[in-house]
């Protein structure tokens, strides 16, 4: 009897919940912890900044234009006397949201297409040719065409900023899922041959269950890696679009636009290029470390060590 109770206890022993274990392992990865702190720091600054910072991002103050960093304007001001710090905060809101949303879209698309192509042999050829088609499309002309076609209707129905946001996220999302799909497909093909997947079939698991329980958890690491790279890519593509004048309206700050605006003043005020550049790099780097730590933490083989 006592033996039975003991076994029951072991079965439901508290303190070793799944997410508890994940957190314990995540904490061990110092780089990931630092990455998480920096990323959430940037996120909080960008979200709460507008409520705390006295300057409006678009408030023009011609008398104090082209100033260097000072106590009043820690990041300086631009050629119209707008406070760079408040513009960075406003730009960060857009850039990070665009980055996360576009990454999420491309990740979902890429993973779905990759898993389906890898798992169902019938669809493999069709889906992979479809992927090749997207890979071979020249990206910028395609983006230009999309902007040209959908900008007006979206602006009308959602307002100029929201419409633009949807359009940019969609445009970046549907043009950047291909590498993820290829990586995922390759991994699924290899996993499908593993005995535990065959074993799952022989114990009667339906296909969607095999994919969700056996395949997806095992391809998490390439997915997370492409996710972290995807965010960086999305932020940079957005800035390229802004540069071409196809992104958000000209007075609407994003990190990419700030960077491009500052390029004109590179010789006179080099620090202006630094701020948005630094913000993009820091965000991307911290997300990279975050993803690295998350991958380790989610893998029980590493967690056990």
């Amino acid at each position: 009897m006592s033996n039975k109770i003991k076994n029951q206890e072991i079965l439901f022993s508290p303190g070793s919940t799944y997410w508890g274990d994940v957190w314990l392992q995540f904490k061990k990865h110092k780089g990931a912890l630092l990455g998480a702190i920096i990323f959430f720091g940037i996120l909080i600054t960008v979200m709460l900044g507008p409520y705390l910072w006295p300057f409006e991002p678009n408030a023009i103050d011609i008398r104090s234009r082209n100033q260097g960093p000072s106590l009043l304007h820690p990041f300086g001001t631009d050629q119209l006397g707008r406070d760079t710090f408040s513009r960075m905060i406003a730009g960060g809101q857009t850039s990070i949201t665009v980055g996360l949303a576009a990454m999420f879209l491309s990740l979902v698309l890429g993973t779905c297409i990759g898993v389906i192509a890898g798992y169902y042999k019938r669809l493999d050829g069709v889906l992979m040719r479809f992927t090749d088609l997207f890979l071979s499309l020249p990206l910028l002309p395609l983006l230009l065409l999309m902007m040209f076609l959908f900008r007006e209707p979206l602006s009308v129905s959602y307002g100029p900023e929201k419409g633009m946001f949807i359009l940019i996220v969609f445009a970046i999302g549907v043009t950047s899922w291909m590498p993820t799909a290829r990586i995922v497909r390759g991994d699924v093909l290899a996993l499908k041959q593993r005995e535990f997947v065959i074993a799952a079939r022989s114990i009667g698991s339906p296909d969607q269950k095999i994919i969700i329980r056996h395949i997806l958890p095992n391809i998490l690491s390439p997915i997370l890696v492409s996710a972290t790279l995807g965010i960086a890519n999305a932020i940079i593509t957005e800035s390229a679009l802004s540069f071409l004048g196809l992104g958000f309206p000209p007075d609407f700050p994003t990190w990419g636009r700030l960077l491009n605006d500052a390029v004109d003043y590179l010789q006179l005020h080099p620090e202006r290029v630094m701020w948005p550049g630094l913000a993009i790099s820091l965000t991307v780097l911290s997300i990279n470390f975050l993803g690295d730590g998350l991958r380790d933490a989610l893998d029980p083989r590493i967690r056990g060590r």
Binding site: N7, I10, L11, E195, I203, G204, R213, P300, R301
Partner: protein, 612 residues
């Protein structure tokens, strides 16, 4: 006189070797206080189970262990490059080691598939070492390469030189690896499990080859293996290792006839011996220790058929060309029929590529068959639709070969064993915990393992989990696809005993797929021998093993290494033919299998399949 003094200087003298590995959690000792020596022209076997430190010792001698994160903390490794000069390899710098590796100490690795570079010809790989170490000219090296291939008895050596590794069979590749290791006429050849990945017939060839090369060239051999039967075939002296330490050392006859330590005794007794079941009608568990506390059970079973396979044909398309058109067929299984009785075991035995695993998977319909019938209690599995097939799979489950590959690394064991029960909604809620715990009890695993992940378990324990998962649905038939082949001998023995116990307890039928004749003899009631997709001989176990009739069956029996140093391979016996290709053109119509009846229930294939 001179030769006598030469004999007394060991080529290699290892003293008090200690190797540690630095891990995150601290130092782990790989090898501790190991001493042994190898004399000229002698074969020393390092034998032990996985994790016993035998490979680490060989890597330490080559000083390759440092590349894997290990560190030699103590001891000396004296290497005599000739009878007068001895040097300590531990104090040599890596430049000197580069001179010694490959030149004075040759090495043969386990996997012949990966030991050769796939993009270079055999000639290029063979001559590389000669030109680097011996500074030979190109022509001279080419000539030497040809001689080397002749010395390892490769047929048509001139043609082989120009071929690439993928064009050669596994046994041929391992011969080339040996030829490469011997190229610079090393003093010592270190062979790390060189036959483990090979079929028995090829293993027999390689072992005779090594024995012959040792006699011809006088090279000393350090042979590392886990298989006591192989040890008996090749060793002059044996060093038994356990947990990084030497357990026992001695002459091969001493070790086998008069082992002193319990561990050695256990190692020898857990090797299934061919012929051990002679005169016994039914399978019995192995007696693992001398205490005789294993209750002696006999698995009788019934004679009522459970599964009948009739004229099964499975082919795989070979595709090629730009649009991946089917250009040929791989005839994996060709017209095979057999019956499994309730509560009994039918074994399929044969070499790799003979189609035995394909049969196992075809029965479960994990591979789709071309034609034939697989009747489970009168229901033809091959004709079921998807839904009915799922219900039929309730009756039969599979255990796979690789205990590392057959469990999902990111799922807890509880969830893995519970999965079939959840799929079929057999047990729900709180009863699930009880049921899974009982399954763990059944396969003799502690319940505390329920919340663990697969990587925390050893190979044998994982295989028990796989068995528990297969048993969860209370199947009538268990398909064991090389289920014990990847395990250490002592673990293998205990898993075999577990399987036999379960058969006795639950009245299970087994389809046992294996390449190991000795294991098959231990567990089966009926045996089918396969060659190139055909069943060449079928009958009850006693008949097959006492009166093998088909020439292939005989050859297979002869190739099984016997764990007795007095019964070594006779080199004239060993003459195997390479298996021809099972790939045929699309239009090829194979003839149906026809059999000679030797006596009731014992059939031998009449068709000419290129082995007579």
């Amino acid at each position: 006189m001179k030769s006598k003094t030469k004999k007394n200087v060991p080529v290699l003298d290892v003293k008090k070797l200690k190797v540690n590995f630095q891990t995150k959690t601290g130092k782990v000792t790989g090898v501790n206080d190991l001493s042994f020596s190898i004399f000229p022209g002698e074969t020393v076997c390092l034998v032990g189970e996985s994790g016993s430190g035998k490979s680490v010792s060989s890597l330490a001698i080559m000083r390759l262990v440092e590349f894997g994160g290990g560190k030699i903390d103590a001891g000396t490794i004296m290497f005599a490059s000739n009878s007068y000069v001895q040097s300590d390899l531990i104090n040599s710098d890596q430049n000197k080691m580069r001179e010694i590796r490959g030149n004075q100490i040759g090495m043969v690795f386990q996997e012949p598939m990966t030991a050769l570079n796939p993009v270079f010809t055999i000639k290029r790989q063979l001559t590389e070492g000669l030109r680097v170490h011996k500074q030979m000219s190109k022509n001279k090296a080419d000539l030497e390469a040809l001689n080397l291939l002749k010395s390892v008895r490769i047929p048509e050596p001139e043609r082989r030189l120009l071929q690439y590794p993928h064009e050669l069979s596994g046994g041929m590749r391992q011969r080339i690896v040996i030829a490469m290791a011997l190229a610079c006429k090393p003093k010592i050849l270190i062979a790390d499990e060189p036959t483990t990945a090979l079929d028995v017939t090829i293993q027999a060839e390689i072992l005779t080859l090594l024995n012959r090369l040792k006699k011809e060239t006088g090279t000393s051999i350090l042979f590392i293996t886990h298989d006591m039967a192989v040890v008996a075939q090749i060793a002059d002296r044996v060093v038994v290792m356990y947990h990084g330490e030497k357990v026992e050392e001695g002459n091969v006859n001493e070790i086998f006839n008069n082992p002193k330590k319990d561990y050695t005794k256990k190692l020898i007794s857990s090797v299934p011996k061919l012929g051990a079941m002679l005169g016994k009608k039914y399978p019995e568990p192995l007696k693992l220790d001398s205490k005789n506390n294993v209750k002696s059970i006999k698995i009788v079973g019934t004679t009522k058929p459970l599964l009948e396979v009739k004229n099964l044909v499975t082919r795989f398309p070979v595709t090629g060309g730009m649009f991946r058109k089917k250009i040929a067929n791989l005839h994996a299984v060709e017209d095979v029929s057999f019956t499994i009785n309730r509560g009994q075991t039918f074994s399929l035995v044969g070499e790799s590529g003979c189609g035995k695993t394909t049969i196992a998977r075809s029965v479960l319909r994990l591979e789709e068959s071309e034609s034939g019938e697989v009747c489970m209690e009168g229901v033809d599995i091959l004709k079921q639709n998807k839904k009915d097939l799922l219900r039929q799979r309730l009756n039969m489950q599979m255990v796979f070969q690789d205990p590392y590959g057959s469990l999902n690394p990111v799922m807890k064991l509880f969830d893995q064993v519970a999965e079939p029960l959840i799929n079929y909604k057999i047990v729900i809620g709180h009863n699930l915990n009880k049921k899974i715990s009982e399954l763990f009890d059944k396969v003799r695993l502690p319940r505390s393992f329920l919340n663990r992940y697969p990587h925390e378990l050893s190979g044998g324990q994982r295989q028990r989990v796989a068995i528990a998962r297969a048993l969860a649905l209370n199947p009538k038939l268990l398909i064991l696809d090389e289920a014990v082949s990847a395990l250490d001998v002592s673990v293998q023995a205990s898993v075999i005993n577990l399987l036999l116990d379960l058969q006795e307890e639950l009245g299970l039928s087994y389809l046992f797929v294996s390449h190991d004749m000795a294991v098959v003899e231990r567990v089966s009631h009926y045996v089918g021998v396969m060659y190139l997709g055909r069943m060449v001989e079928i009958g009850d176990r006693q008949t097959i093993f006492s009166n093998p009739t088909h020439p292939y069956t005989r050859a297979l029996m002869k190739a099984v290494p016997i764990a007795d140093p007095k019964k070594r391979f006779n080199r004239d016996d060993i003459n195997f033919k390479p298996i021809s290709s099972p790939i045929r053109d699309l239009g090829f119509v194979p003839e149906p299998s026809s059999y000679n009846m030797i006596k009731k229930g014992h059939y031998v294939l009449k068709n000419n399949i290129g082995y007579n």
